[in-house]
Every structure is written in C-alpha cells, then in structure tokens.
Symmetry: C2
Subunit: 339 residues, 2 copies
C-alpha cells in the first residue's frame, strides 16, 4: 500500500510539473512580436503579481484603463460613433424636418464628403446631440445595436465590431487572467460603447467610462419608469476629463493605462504619477499597409482622429511611457484572416 501511495504521489507530481511547464511555455501574447515592448508588458505583470516582490499590487488595486478608438479598434478616418451619428441623421431629420434647413445638418444631408470632413468640433457636437439624445435609453440601445449588426466599414467590408486589434484583445485577457480589472476610458459616448463592450472586449458596461450626458427619470403612460437621454453634458471624458472620469467612476488610480493620442496624455500622466510600478503605453499608427499611418510624430499630416503629435512623442520618451509600433510590434493586427 505504501509503495502504491508513493507511486500515486510520484505520478501526480509529474502531472503537476508538466502542467506548470505547459503553462510557462504558453505565450499569453502570441500576436505580439518578441522584443522590448512585449517584455515590458510581461515584466510589469510578473512584478505586480508576485507576492514576494516589494512592488506587488494587491488584487483589489489592479486597475488597467484603455482608451478605445485607435487603441482597441480602428479609428481612422472617422470614429465609429461619428459614422453612426451621420448614418442616423436622415431618420432624425425625417422626424424633425426643420433640421434639414439649418447647418450643420444641411451639409451632412448633402452627402458632400469634402464638406462633411471640414465640419468643426462644434458642428459635430450638434450632430451628436441631435442623434444620441432625446430618446429613452432602451430605444437608444436598440437603435445602436441595429446599426452595429448591419453597418460595415468600407475598407474591410466588415462590421465595425470586427475591427478590434487582436494584440490588444490578448493584452486585455492576459491582464484579467492576472487579476486586473480592465476598464475602457474613452472620449466616445459611454452609452454607445456599452452596447458592445461586453461582447467584443469582455468588458461589462459598469467598466466603461465615457463621455456622458445626463438622463432624466420619468414615467410612461402605463406608469412604468424609464430614463431619457438628455443633451446636458455631465462628463467630457477626453484629455484632463479622463483622470476626472476615472476618479468619478473608479475612484482609484490605475496601475496601467493605454492610449494613442493627445486625448490620453493626462490619463497616462496621472497613472504614472502613482507609487510603485506603473505601466503607460501609447499605440503608434505607423502601419499604412495593414492598418493606417498618420500623425505629426511620423512626419505625416495631422488627422481628424487620434492626434499623435511630436510633443506627445517627446513627452512619452521623457516620462518613460512606452510607444507601441503597430508595424514592428504586432505580428497580426486583426482576428480575421485578411493578412
């Protein structure tokens, strides 16, 4: 009997050892090319989750925040939410025909792409307000879902929700597997991103911080309560608004933050200003062939989206933020087989 038990013990040990080996040899980030960037991510995770390391971070404090447009999915040449709003405008104008006669709606309805591309931020805000507010949150969700199910990005001829970056999906999963709570912190509308964040990123609605308007509580005729989306801006979650939004919705400073533009500068700054080891990373869009290349940091013309200025590039170097080159660091860009 004793010998049998020893045998069982020995066999179990072999199994456990083999499992450990297998786990160690499984690459958590297979779509990332080996190199300094991938190593920096792995070192950060190992350091902060190793109890014997003085830089260990307790599980409850493991917060990682991700910008969305240009960081988790394609933003060029136009944010998906803006495409959605432009697509929705005809239906809005049908319900309120007086809008067709005033700017900026007149320009959008003209279909003149050059003129649409020149619309100012103020114009865009008017379009967002007209298309995203003044309806119940249930109706908003249903409309957005319908669009996501049918609309396609013209370059790849695929739903927008398939244009997520595979390396970043792996990074989200890797962080979560190591006890990090992953959050989206986006300049896009909180309600819009929440419609798909759980399905495409595994990030639940309560972990999406975005630009948010107020809602108003009221009652249907049958007495059932509902919330109406109002044009009143509560949180402009961009630039300095990102740390403010993080404080409002999370209440802790992130240990890791990921962005791709000047709108993420303060979030990265705020993250790095904390104690211990903090990770701040910026995605540089320098892959014209597989995705896009744009921005002054590459000597290219400024884009309407995701400004990556020379100043941001310089600050990244100075502050120890890590710049991810899509071209150099990502083995694959998307999950679909087009590459």
């Amino acid at each position: 009997m004793k010998r049998f038990m020893l045998l069982v013990f020995a066999l179990s040990s072999v199994v456990v050892f083999a499992t450990c080996l297998a786990a160690e040899s499984t690459d958590p980030l297979p779509s990332w090319n080996n190199g300094a960037i991938k190593q920096a991510i792995i070192a950060f995770v190992q350091t902060t989750t190793d109890k014997s390391n003085p830089k260990f971070v307790p599980p409850a404090e493991r917060i990682a925040t991700f910008d969305q447009d240009g960081t988790l999915w394609v933003e060029h040449p136009m944010y998906s939410q803006v495409v959605y709003c432009l697509d929705r405008l005809p239906a809005v104008v049908k319900a309120k025909p007086e809008l067709a006669k005033v700017e900026p709606f007149k320009t959008v309805l003209s279909g003149n792409r050059e003129a649409i591309a020149k619309l100012s931020m103020d114009d865009l805000f008017k379009i967002l307000a007209a298309t995203l507010t003044g309806m119940s949150i249930d109706k908003f969700r249903a409309e957005a879902q319908k669009w996501l199910d049918t609309a396609k990005n013209p370059r790849w001829n695929r739903p927008y929700t398939e244009l997520t970056y595979l390396p970043m999906e792996e990074l989200l999963k890797y962080l979560r597997a190591n006890g990090y709570k992953t959050w989206i912190v986006t300049g896009s509308g909180q309600d819009f991103v929440r419609v798909y964040s759980e399905r495409i990123y595994g990030i639940p609605p309560e972990q999406v911080v975005g630009t948010a308007n107020g809602t108003k509580y009221g009652y249907h005729q049958d007495g059932k309560p509902f919330l109406t989306k109002e044009p009143r801006l509560l949180l402009n979650n961009n630039g300095a608004g990102k740390p403010e939004g993080i404080h409002l919705m999370i209440g802790r400073r992130p240990y890791a933050a990921f962005g791709n533009s000047t709108g993420d500068r303060q979030m990265l700054e705020y993250t790095k200003a904390g104690d211990g080891v903090r990770l701040a990373m910026l995605v540089l869009h320098d892959d014209a062939k597989r995705e896009y290349a744009y921005g002054p940091a590459l000597g290219l013309p400024d884009a309407k989206v995701g400004k990556f200025t020379q100043a941001l590039y310089d600050e990244a170097k100075k502050q120890g933020w890590i710049v991810i080159s899509m071209k150099r660091d990502w083995k694959r860009i998307f999950n679909f087989k087009s590459q």
Copy 2:
C-alpha cells in the same frame, strides 16, 4: 490495487457528500429571524441562480444596489457625513476666518444644538461645500480617514464604522457568494463613503455610487498631477437621482435593491420595473430599544433623516416591495456584543 482505488473513491465520495450536507445546513443569514422576509431573500437568490429555472439571471447581470444611511448603518439622528462636516467646520473657519461671520457657519460654530437641528437643506449644502471641496482628493481622503479613526457615536460610544447592521452585512456576503455584484447607491458623498466602504462592507470604491461633485485636474509645483474637489455638483444621487446615478455608473438595471426612505423610492421602482424576478426591500426603523423608531409610517414624528412616510409604506404594499421590520426580522442588530 483495484480494491484500494475503490476504497479511495468511496472515501472521497463520503467527504464530498458530507461537505455538501454541511454547506446546505449552514444558514447564510444567521442574524435574521426565520419567517417570510428571510425566506423571500433566500427564494430570490435560489431562483435567480438556478440554471434550470426560467427566471435564471446570468452572473454578469447580477447587480444588487444598497442605500447606505439607515439601510446598511445607523443614520439617526444625523447622517455620519453631516456629523463629519460639522466636526470639520472649526478647522475650515480657522483657515478662512471670514466664514465665522456669515450664516449658516455662525450657527454651527455657536454650538446651539437646537438651532443647528433647524438648519435648512440649503444651509447644509453650504456646509458640505465648504468642508468637502476645495482640496485635493488625497488630502480629503486623509482628513476623512483621520476622523473615522477617532470620532465616536455618542449613544454607543463606538466609531461610526462599527454601527453597521450585522444582518445586512450577512446579506451582502450571501449575495456576493451567489455571484451578485453589490453596490452602494447613496445620497451621501461618493468620495466620503469610498474611504471606508471596502473595509467595512467589502464594497470597493468603484462600486460606490453617491452624490458627486466634479474634480479639476491640475499640477503641483513639482509637475505632479492631482485632482481638486470642486463645489460643482455632478450628480445629486437621491430620489430620481438614484436611477440616473445607476445608469451613469453601472449601466444596467439592478435585480435587487434595498433602501429605507422616500429617497430610495425611484431606485426600488426602477429595479422592480425590469423583467423576470426582482427584489425590492425597505428597512423600517421600528426598534426604539435596540436602535431607533421613527417616521410617519409608524405614527411617529417625521425625522430629519430617512423619511419613511405613509405614502411610501402604501406604495411598498401596492408594488410588492418587502418591508423589513428591524424589531421582528433581525435577531441581532450590530456585530458588537451590546445586546
């Protein structure tokens, strides 16, 4: 060898079976008296977590929201946050002596309890703004923590953080053990409650929704960024503000909601208006001996805190909200041994 393995298998089965029995016979709510209320809670949890039940709720959607003052801890005769603000006022006036000459600060500094008790809501807002804003969030946290560590409730001569209701602590744990994410949804200040929520309720800061002011991002002289608490109100998280706050911060409708006053009416209404099984409960303070008895629903004078009006009582009956009687349903009120 075969016989030995059979024996191991048989023994393991006994152990597993015994463990199951032990688990089944462990009461998850030992401080609740047996009866309809306790049964209703257990039935709700069993129904929504049983995969074979048509009312099953997927884990991701299991959201339970709790009012704090009067629902999770003592609110009478004054909300703890108000006590904190009144306690802090002398230090604030020392830094800004001009306040001593104007109302409502003059009244508070006079120490005249009757006059203080008569202050209006507007006056209270002025006191909250003066004592809770205009400082960095780090400084605010340190000050609040210092107060919590030293201040004592005069009736029980214990720190305020010990005046939590044991039956509600058990309920929080029971829900969490069954996959529910527990949230505080309070009219008190979000930042204030976040200082202690994790330690005393096991609820992390990111699951505290409270009345919230804006913050402003800025820099210390050494270039380090910080957030300043501003008097600008973002979310008045009371009454209709509770469903609005839930939408802003959670983005899903709760399956269970717990309150104790008219300020929780809309949260309970919104919760119950969802599909499937939803649980809405109100704590009635009817135990003058072990805690307090107050409110018109008991034929008692109205209190400054936690209004439980006759209208609320009637609506609870009509809507199927369950009223918890502290006197009848709670075996023990507190964790400490004074009863």
